[in-house]
C-alpha cells in the first residue's frame, strides 16, 4: 500500500489510503473511530435495523493494514466501539478476529466519548498516550503540540474538472493531526465546518483518502459568520 509521507513535530509519518496512520520509526499503526457495533447499538435503542456486518468489514480492513505494515504497536484512538454495550455484544467471530490482530503486539485502546470505560478485550486502556514527540488522544485540545487525535471524522471536498470529489481526510497543521474515521458505518464532518476551521491553523492541509492520499490546502470556511442574534 502506498502512503503519503509528512511530518508532525519532527516525527516522519505516513498517511495510508485506508485512513490509518503509520509511524515507521516507532513501528506504530494508529486508527481512529472504528465505531464497532454501531448497528447493534442502533437496533438495541429501537432505531433502524442496519445490516450487522460493519464490525466484520472494519476489522477486515484493519487486518489488511496490519498485514501490510506489521506494526509493533497498534493504537485505536477512541470510539473504537459505538458504546460499551456494543463492545460486549460483539459477535464471537469479531472478538476472535480482534484477539488474532492483537497477538504478538502492543495494543492500546484510547478512550473516546462513545467508549469511556474499561475494555475487556485485552490490551491497555488509556485516556491518552505520549510517544515523544507525539501525544495520542481522542479529542483535540486547543493548545496541544504534536497531537494526534480523531473524533471529528473529517472529510473534504474538492472541485476537479467539473465534478466534486468528497473524501474522508486527515487534517494536519504544525501543531496537530486529526485522523479520519476508520469505521465502516461512519459519516463525516466537512473541513469547512466552523469547528474544524477554528481548530486548524490557516496553513493546514487535508490529506484526502486516495491511493496514495492527496494533499490539498484544507478547504475552510471563508469568512466568519456575521453574528445575527441580537444579544
Amino acid at each position: 500500500m502506498n502512503g503519503l509521507s509528512f511530518s508532525l513535530a519532527g516525527a516522519d509519518l505516513l498517511a495510508l489510503a485506508s485512513g490509518a496512520l503509520f509511524w515507521p520509526a516507532r513501528d506504530l499503526l494508529c486508527v481512529s473511530d472504528l465505531h464497532l457495533g454501531k448497528s447493534e447499538r442502533m437496533a438495541r435503542r429501537g432505531g433502524p435495523i442496519l445490516p450487522p456486518y460493519e464490525a466484520r468489514e472494519t476489522l477486515a480492513r484493519l487486518a489488511r493494514d496490519i498485514d501490510a505494515v506489521r506494526p509493533q504497536t497498534v493504537i485505536c484512538l477512541g470510539d473504537s466501539f459505538d458504546d460499551l454495550g456494543a463492545m460486549r455484544a460483539l459477535e464471537d467471530a469479531a472478538k476472535a478476529e480482534i484477539a488474532a490482530l492483537m497477538a504478538g503486539r502492543r495494543w492500546i485502546w484510547i478512550e473516546g466519548n462513545h467508549d469511556a470505560g474499561p475494555v475487556d478485550l485485552g490490551g491497555s486502556h488509556l485516556h491518552d498516550l505520549q510517544v515523544a514527540p507525539l501525544t495520542f488522544r481522542h479529542i483535540a485540545s486547543p493548545d496541544a503540540r504534536g497531537e494526534v487525535s480523531g473524533h471529528y471524522h473529517p472529510k473534504a471536498r474538492l472541485a476537479l474538472k467539473g465534478r466534486t470529489l468528497t473524501r474522508a481526510c486527515f487534517l494536519v497543521d504544525d501543531a496537530r493531526l486529526i485522523l479520519p474515521a476508520y469505521g465502516t458505518y461512519t459519516g463525516g464532518l466537512y473541513s469547512d465546518s466552523a469547528v474544524l476551521t477554528d481548530l486548524m491553523a490557516p496553513e493546514a492541509r487535508a490529506l484526502m483518502l486516495a491511493d496514495p492520499p492527496l494533499a490539498v490546502p484544507m478547504p475552510r470556511r471563508t469568512c466568519a459568520p456575521a453574528s445575527v442574534r441580537a444579544s
Partner: protein, 801 residues
C-alpha cells in the same frame, strides 16, 4: 339508485346549473361496490363523486365518518373543502366537512380521530397515518364511501400502492364500504379500475362525454428558440402578449428551477406590472397559500407553475394554458390543457412553447398526437415490496396482528393480488428482524411474535418512529430557506441539501421569484438576505423527470425522415437540415453514434431515443465497457433522445460497445456498484424502513453521526447480496431508473445497424446535451488519473510544495 333530495336539486337549479348525464349516472349507480368515472378535466368529476354522499347525508341520520376523500395534493383537499362547503352551507345540510393533511394542526388531528367529520378530505400519506393509530377501528367505524380523486395520477406511483394497501385495511375496519375512483382521460380504463376494486371483484366503469377537441397550437414568437437550454426565456414577450389578451393564464413548466427562472425573467419584462404569481411544490406553505388565495379571488392574470397545479384544482377562470418545454408525455399534456376553460363542453385553449430547437420537434409531434387522440402509457409491474414493508410496519403500529389476516387483506389489492406467501413472509421477516442472514440477539427484533401467534412491536415506543417515517415520496434531503432575521425571518421555501452544500456566502439564487443572497447555514436552515443582483445562480430543485414516451419518440423519429419540414418553423427545419449536412439524422431502424473532441476531452453521443432512464442506463453500460477497454470515461449525461459520454481517450470503434452479447452480464456487473443503483437503494431503504428519514432529534445531533446509505448498499452487496432490499433495488431499478426493457427494444429496433460519424467538433444535435443537468460521474481509473494530475498542481498553486 340514490334519489337526489329536492333541496339539493333546487339549489342546483337556483345556480342555473343542471346535472351532467354522468353526474346523474353516478347517483343512479351509487350502490356499486366499486365504480370508476372517467371524465375530461372540467367535467364536474368531483361533484359527481360527492353527489351520492350529499344525498345520503341529507337527512342527518348518519353518525361519524361517512365519506373519505383522497386526493394526491394537499391543495386539492383544501380546494374541495371550499367548493363543497358552499352548497352544504347554502342548502343547510347537516354535514361536517374537514380536511386533514400534513398542514393540519396537532389538536385538530387529535380531535378528528376521536370525533371524525362526516366527510374527511385527505391525502394517501395522511390516510396511512390515520390507519397506524390504535384507535383506527373507531375512527373508521361506519365509513360508507371512499372517493379517490385523480386516481390516474396516483396509480402511476408508490403513493397509489400505499393508498390501495390502506384501502384494504379500511375494508376490514368498515366492511361493505363502496369505492369510487375519479380519473381524467386515460389510455386503459380497465387497468385503472382493476386497481380501485377489491380484488377479485369487478369494477364498473362510467365514461363521460369527452367533450370537444382542444384548441391547441404552437405559440408564435418573433425570437427563435435557443439552440439549447430549458427556460423558454426567448418567448417572454409573446407570452406577455398572450397574458394581456386573456383573463387568466396558467404557464406550466416541467421543473421548478425552470419555473423560477421564467418567472424572474417575466417579472423583469413586465413593464405594465400585470399581476403575476409563481406556484410550485418547493415554496413555503405561506407563499403558496398567498398565491392560491389571490388566484381564487381573480387577482392574478397569470401563474407560473409546475406539476403542483397539474391536478383538478378549480383556480377560477383560467382561459389559457401555456406549456413551456416539451410535454414528454401526451396524456399529461392533454390533462394540463384541460386546465383551461374549466367548463364542460367548451374547448380548452392551449399554446405550446418549445424551450429549444429540439423541443420544437417534440412539441409538433405531441400536437399531432393530441389531435389524433393517441394517448400513451407504460404498464406498471406488480406492487413494490418496499411499500409493502412499510405497510406491515404501519399495521404493527396500530396494534398486534395476525400474519395470515394481514396477508389475506393484502392480496385483495390489485397490484399485490399475485403476491406469493413466501415473499410476504420475507417482508414480514425484514420488518421484524432486518432479514439478515446473521441474526442472533433479542435486540435485533423490531417485531416479536407473541405466544398466541400475534405479531407486535417489541418496543411500543417504536410506533411513533414508524409514524414519523410514513410516506413513499423520497425527494432528496431538503433544507428550509429563511430570510435572516434576529427572531427567525419569513420562510421562503426549500432547496436540496446538495445544492445548499455548493453555496458559499455571497452566492445568489432564485427562490419564490426573488433573488436572495446566501448568508449561511444555521441549525439546518439556509439563511438568506434579499438581494437585487441581476444574475442569480439558480436553485437546483430536482423536479421529477419524466421519460419521453415510446409513442412520442417514434413520432419524432418518423418526422426526421421527412425530405423537408414544412410543418416545423424555419429555424428548426434549418437546424435539422444542418445536422443532416454535417452528420446524419437519427433513424428508427439504425443507431447514430457521433464522436468528437470538445474542451480537451473526447466525447461520444449515441442517439438511442429510448427515453431518459434507458439512455441513462445505456450511459452506465457504455462507460463500463469503455472502462474495461481502457478508454478512461469520466462521466455521462442522458436525455430522452441521446447519451453523451466524455472521457480522456477517443472511441474509434463504437460497435463493440453496443454488442448485444454479455449485455445482461454487463448489466449485472454494474448493478453491483454504480450511482444509479445506490440512488434506487436509498429510496427503497427509506420507504421500507431500513433507515429513518426522520427520527427524534436527528437534525440537531446530525453531522458526523449520519453516514451515506451508499455504505449500507456496499456492505449488503458484500456480505448479504440476496437480502430483500438488494432484490427490491434490482427489481426497482430494472423497471424504473434502469428501464432495461427500452434498451432491449432499442437494440431490437436497430438490429446492429450502427452509423459512426467522426466529427471535428460538436454536432448541431449534440450541442444541447452539454447544458443538461444530471451529469453522472464514472468512478473509475480516470478519477485516480485526475487526482494524480492534480496532485502536484494544487499544492504548487497554493505555494505549499
Amino acid at each position: 339508485m340514490t334519489p337526489l333530495p329536492a333541496t339539493i336539486e333546487a339549489w342546483f337549479t337556483d345556480q342555473g346549473w343542471h346535472l351532467h348525464p354522468h353526474q346523474r349516472a353516478m347517483l343512479a349507480r351509487a350502490g356499486e361496490p366499486a365504480l370508476m368515472l372517467i371524465a375530461p378535466t372540467g367535467g364536474g368529476k368531483t361533484m359527481a363523486g360527492f353527489l351520492p354522499t350529499l344525498a345520503e347525508l341529507a337527512d342527518g341520520s348518519h353518525d361519524g365518518l361517512h365519506t373519505l376523500y383522497i386526493s394526491p395534493l394537499k391543495a386539492l383537499a383544501a380546494d374541495i373543502k371550499r367548493n363543497l362547503r358552499r352548497p352544504v352551507e347554502e342548502i343547510g345540510l347537516p354535514i361536517r366537512i374537514e380536511d386533514r393533511t400534513g398542514d393540519t394542526s396537532q389538536t385538530q388531528r387529535k380531535r378528528q380521530r376521536a370525533d371524525p367529520p362526516h366527510i374527511l378530505l385527505t391525502t394517501p400519506e395522511s390516510l396511512a397515518l390515520l390507519t397506524s393509530y390504535e384507535d383506527a377501528a373507531r375512527t373508521f367505524k361506519g365509513l360508507k364511501r371512499v372517493i379517490v380523486d385523480e386516481i390516474h395520477a396516483l396509480a402511476e406511483s408508490k403513493r397509489g400502492d400505499q393508498l390501495f394497501l390502506a384501502l384494504s385495511r379500511l375494508e376490514t375496519l368498515a366492511p361493505g364500504l363502496r369505492r369510487v375512483g375519479l380519473s381524467a382521460t386515460v389510455e386503459d380504463p380497465p387497468a385503472l379500475a382493476n386497481l380501485l376494486a377489491r380484488h377479485p371483484d369487478p369494477c364498473a366503469i362510467l365514461m363521460a362525454d369527452p367533450g370537444p377537441d382542444p384548441d391547441i397550437s404552437m405559440l408564435q414568437t418573433r425570437e427563435k428558440p435557443p439552440w439549447s437550454g430549458g427556460g423558454g426565456a426567448y418567448a417572454i414577450p409573446a407570452v406577455l402578449d398572450q397574458i394581456r389578451q386573456h383573463k387568466t393564464t396558467l404557464i406550466f413548466h416541467n421543473t421548478r428551477a425552470q419555473a423560477e427562472i421564467f418567472f424572474h425573467n417575466l417579472w423583469l419584462a413586465n413593464d405594465e406590472a400585470l399581476p403575476v404569481g409563481i406556484h410550485h411544490g418547493a415554496l413555503a406553505r405561506e407563499q403558496r397559500e398567498k398565491v392560491e388565495a389571490a388566484m381564487v379571488a381573480g387577482k392574478l392574470r397569470a401563474i407560473v407553475c409546475t406539476g403542483s397545479l397539474d391536478l383538478g384544482i378549480d383556480w377560477g377562470d383560467v382561459d389559457l394554458v401555456i406549456q413551456v418545454g416539451a410535454p414528454k408525455n401526451v396524456k399529461r399534456l392533454v390533462q394540463r390543457i384541460g386546465r383551461a376553460n374549466h367548463r364542460y363542453n367548451a374547448p380548452s385553449k392551449a399554446l405550446l412553447v418549445p424551450a429549444n430547437r429540439f423541443e420544437v420537434v417534440e412539441c409538433v409531434a405531441a400536437l399531432e398526437a393530441v389531435r389524433a387522440r393517441d394517448l400513451d402509457g407504460e404498464a406498471r409491474g406488480p406492487g413494490p415490496l418496499d411499500v409493502l414493508c412499510q405497510h406491515v410496519l404501519i399495521r404493527a403500529a396500530a396494534g398486534p396482528f395476525d400474519a395470515d389476516d394481514l396477508f389475506a387483506e393484502i392480496i385483495t389489492v390489485g397490484a399485490y393480488a399475485a403476491l406469493p406467501r413466501a415473499t410476504f413472509d420475507r417482508c414480514l421477516d425484514f420488518t421484524a428482524t432486518g432479514g439478515y442472514a446473521l441474526r442472533a440477539y433479542d435486540q435485533w427484533q423490531r417485531l416479536v411474535q407473541r405466544p398466541d401467534g400475534l405479531w407486535q412491536l417489541r418496543d411500543p415506543r417504536a410506533a411513533s418512529r414508524i409514524r414519523m417515517n410514513i410516506g413513499t415520496i423520497t425527494d432528496s434531503e431538503k433544507l428550509k430557506v429563511r430570510l435572516r432575521h434576529a427572531r427567525g425571518g419569513a420562510a421562503l421555501g426549500e432547496v436540496e441539501e446538495g445544492f445548499a452544500a455548493t453555496l458559499t456566502q455571497g452566492d445568489t439564487f432564485l427562490i419564490g421569484g426573488r433573488i436572495v443572497r446566501y448568508e449561511g447555514l444555521r441549525e439546518m436552515v439556509v439563511e438568506v438576505t434579499k438581494n437585487a443582483g441581476r444574475k442569480p445562480r439558480v436553485a437546483v430543485f430536482s423536479g421529477t423527470k419524466f421519460a419521453t414516451s415510446t409513442q412520442l419518440s417514434d413520432r419524432i423519429l418518423a418526422m426526421f425522415q421527412q425530405e423537408s419540414w414544412p410543418n416545423l418553423p424555419t429555424h428548426t427545419a434549418e437546424w435539422l437540415a444542418l445536422q443532416r449536412q454535417v452528420s446524419r439524422l437519427p433513424e428508427r431502424k439504425r443507431l447514430l453514434v457521433e464522436t468528437f473532441p470538445h474542451d480537451g476531452l473526447h466525447h461520444l453521443t449515441a442517439y438511442g431515443f429510448a427515453g431518459r432512464n434507458a439512455q441513462q442506463t445505456l450511459g452506465l453500460l457504455l462507460t463500463q465497457r469503455m472502462e474495461a477497454a481502457g478508454l478512461n470515461p469520466l462521466g455521462f449525461v442522458a436525455t430522452d433522445y441521446a447519451t453523451l459520454i466524455w472521457g480522456l481517450d477517443p472511441v474509434t470503434d463504437p460497435a463493440p460497445l453496443f454488442a448485444r452479447d454479455n449485455l445482461k452480464d454487463a448489466l449485472e456487473g454494474w448493478l453491483a456498484g454504480n450511482a444509479v443503483m445506490k440512488r434506487t437503494f436509498k429510496t427503497a431503504a427509506l420507504v421500507a424502513g431500513l433507515i429513518d428519514r426522520n427520527s427524534p432529534g436527528r437534525r440537531k445531533s446530525g453531522r458526523q453521526a449520519t453516514f451515506s446509505t451508499d455504505i449500507l448498499y456496499d456492505t449488503l452487496r458484500k456480505y448479504d447480496p440476496d437480502h430483500l432490499m438488494m432484490q427490491v433495488t434490482r427489481d426497482e431499478a430494472m423497471r424504473g431508473l434502469v428501464d432495461f426493457s427500452r434498451i432491449e427494444a432499442m437494440l431490437d429496433r436497430i438490429g446492429g445497424r450502427i452509423d459512426h460519424v467522426v466529427l471535428t467538433r460538436v454536432s448541431p444535435l449534440a450541442a444541447p446535451l452539454f447544458l443538461e443537468a444530471g451529469r453522472v460521474p464514472v468512478a473509475g481509473r480516470a478519477e485516480e488519473t485526475l487526482i494524480d494530475r492534480e496532485r502536484h498542481a494544487l499544492m504548487a498553486a497554493a505555494g505549499l510544495e
